[in-house]
Symmetry: C2
Subunit: 278 residues, 2 copies
């Protein structure tokens, strides 16, 4: 993502916890920094791309990146965080006299490298417009989803709700098919191309019939992400019966010791509770 900005002639200073990544970035024309605060020093824009809200808070508040940022500068928060966590971070950023764009993404490593991420950005119209040249460099599917920080996180949360449920219900469907003596792969072939299909059914489905599939994304990621989903439901008073049921199945898979396995392996939890496996 930093590389894409450099290619578009933005002056970028980058920091990463892995020194190798900083050196690689320097070889591509970027400027390396020894700390997050050094990378942010007097910058107009601080892009925070970390794994969750705890890391974002660590960078912004504990490591001093927010205080180092130019007065009136803008924080672009791209980590996947709970909407409530984004609101709390935004309050502290705005209290310091800076602006914030709540801008989580989807599209994975491929989207990050290619500049083809989907970006779900929430910010005041003025801040969004100012950040537009930066954001379109990072993602070609850029959406302004609302004016309030937390609304970007809310859309990402809804995204994870659908992704997590679609994986779990595919596993539920295969369990029912297997109990009826239907070959699961044949069921996938029949259903994947029909009105019963989903992106996740076709992507994760084949790995539900492998013994040791590659770990594209782990079971415990959905324990976390569907946890954020149901927390968001409680916080906003939105009953989520289906997402809650799906969370229980990822939790079961994790409890069975499959937390670090590919998320397709939620199917193993179904196979156990259906008596297909001992």
């Amino acid at each position: 993502m930093a590389e894409n900005l450099v290619k578009k002639q933005f002056a970028v200073t980058g920091f990463d916890v892995r020194a190798d990544n900083i050196r690689a970035f320097e070889s591509l024309g970027g400027k390396g920094a020894a700390t997050a605060a050094e990378a942010a020093r007097d910058a107009d824009v601080l892009i925070v791309m970390v794994v969750n809200a705890t890391q974002a808070e660590s960078v912004l508040f504990d490591a001093g990146a927010l205080d180092a940022l130019a007065p009136g500068g803008t924080v672009v928060l791209m980590a996947t965080c709970a909407p409530s966590a984004v609101k709390a971070i935004a309050a502290r950023v705005e209290a310091s006299g800076r602006h914030i764009v709540d801008a989580p993404v989807s599209g994975g490593t491929i989207g990050a490298k290619g500049g083809t991420l989907t970006i779900m950005a929430a910010a005041s119209k003025a801040v969004f417009d100012t950040m537009h040249p930066v954001l379109v460099t990072l993602g070609d599917k850029l959406f302004h989803v609302g004016e309030e920080p937390g609304q970007g996180a809310a859309v990402k949360t809804v995204n994870q709700l659908l992704c997590g449920v679609h994986i779990a219900v595919a596993a539920e469907a295969f369990a029912l098919a297997e109990k009826a003596g239907i070959d699961g792969k044949l069921a996938l072939e029949i259903l994947g191309g029909s009105a019963a299909g989903s992106w996740m059914l076709n992507n994760r489905g084949p790995r539900m019939f492998e013994e040791e599939p590659i770990v594209a994304s782990a079971v415990d990621i959905f324990v976390k992400d569907l946890g954020i989903v149901v927390d968001a439901g409680r916080a906003s008073k939105t009953p989520l019966p289906i997402a809650s049921a799906a969370l229980q199945m990822f939790l079961a898979a994790s409890a069975m010791g499959l937390g670090a396995k590919d998320d397709s392996q939620v199917v193993e939890a179904y196979r156990h509770i259906a008596g297909l496996k001992k």
Copy 2:
């Protein structure tokens, strides 16, 4: 479907409860019959395309179509029935000295007219092979899913599990988005083309934002079909936590008086329980 068989030079006698349909079939080169038994008289194959198991039993047993069929003939049961109902029907058909193909379909009216149905057929290999020329005329996506009657119905049940859950979870996702102040149509635009997408999200999603959408398929159809799903789960001892949750939401929509509305209107049940509507 009868028309497609006539076009392929099969000698077809047809019966329908609506006389208009019989006359239309005759004008296309088919032969009309005054009763189901008359249509079945001395035929080698009896195709039963009705709405559910009750109607299939009425045609086969009460109206005398099974007894009229040639000895050693084959019943092709294409209605959407519970697997347990198909097994019971198959037992009576086989006790009469006839064969059965359990062959539910998906693809709707368009697939029926175009001969492009998906057919999920269960029958012994010998019977399936004999019926192959007939079945491929009706559907170009023909699958032999198992040897036991009830296995075709089982695949159709799994199909309905995924379809019903995908509709309900789309509604759940939009409720969470709307509670966060996100425009639902924007959420659909963002999510429909991403890893969060499903065929149903893109097909039913737009109608979740219409006041009075056309009724492509009614809420009560999924009260029935997800009912068949959870019954099949109980019969085969397969816990189905997600499908069960989805059924409750279609049931809620029906209880609210929306049973005859388009199934996309399950979103109204979510909007009510989330306090978005009074």
